[in-house]
Symmetry: C2
Subunit: 193 residues, 2 copies
């Protein structure tokens, strides 16, 4: 984008530090209040003024977008690790999905915020989401080729079911792990369970 002028001054140290602080504070704030978390609160937790927050992230949506990126980068790592794994391919798919759900569940309320995030926030993470989808597709292809996974399911559907599971994480008393397991059982090839 703006890397045309390659010889630019390095970023000031406080800026780098503060960006990290903001992201951390935002995680905490969104975890506590969901989407309702307030910019003032995020800034306070980071020990900074709102003005500073806004110089790092021009809008609340941009901040949420950055958080989405971080989270999906984590999940992408899991999926990539799955590519290397030996063993029954459908089992690998299931483990990756369990892992991904785990990442979301680690921080349920922040998850809540992501679910309510606008299109714009998601667009900002578009490249990572695409890569994640491509990786999942490879894993799915393997499992389907092995005959252990149902055929009418692809990487686009992964987002759908993970969104469904995530949506249920924030309700007390609901057991999202069972929800996920039911879904995973449903993903098995007919007769393979």
């Amino acid at each position: 984008m703006n890397n045309i002028a390659v010889t630019q001054k390095p970023e000031r140290a406080d800026k780098t530090r503060n960006r990290a602080r903001i992201l951390e504070a935002a995680s905490a704030a969104f975890a506590e209040f969901g989407v309702e978390a307030q910019m003032d609160d995020v800034a306070a937790r980071a020990g900074l003024g709102v003005g500073t927050l806004y110089r790092h992230f021009a809008t609340k949506e941009a901040l949420v977008g950055a958080m989405i990126r971080e989270r999906f980068a984590l999940i992408l790592d899991l999926a990539r690790a799955g590519l290397e794994r030996e063993g029954e391919p459908f089992a690998v798919v299931k483990d990756v999905l369990r892992g991904g759900a785990g990442v979301c569940a680690d921080d349920v309320a922040a998850q809540d915020a992501l679910m309510a995030a606008g299109d714009e926030a998601w667009r900002r993470a578009g490249d990572i989401l695409e890569e994640l989808q491509a990786t999942m597709q490879v894993l799915i292809d393997r499992a389907q080729a092995a005959g252990t996974m149902r055929l009418d399911f692809d990487s686009a559907d992964v987002s759908m079911i993970m969104c469904g599971v995530s949506a249920t994480m924030s309700v007390d008393g609901w057991d999202w792990q069972r929800h996920l397991e039911i879904l995973l059982d449903g993903l098995a090839a007919p007769g393979a369970r």
Copy 2:
């Protein structure tokens, strides 16, 4: 509640008519804008002033609560009809769930509004939800007794998975029916599919 004085004057005709209009208008507005639908807009669609809207529903939350009631009353009818049906009990459970999802999908964006509704709105529909749950439990018991449905699932989990499916309905390009079918396959007794 306030039916102690049984001999009260009948409601004025315009009041009854307007209440119905508001509910209809609210459906349309929520369908178009989700939770973001505005009270002013609902009033305008009903051809009424905001003041009138507020005399019928004291807060936005109360209005949403009334809508939730209406919707779940419909689903409750489906579940009750399921009680009468002959045939394989797990198939009945599946059909009722498909029907319930259909009711939600009829009006996806309104569904969106319900998902984002606060606790208070849900509490107002508490009695219907309880009855729905009790009815579903009967259907589930039958299916589990027949050995065709997985045993680690009860009526409380119904809300969870339906919420998961509903969360998924409002995204273009996602096939919530497949999502539901995967879940239903996962609900079968192990080895029964």
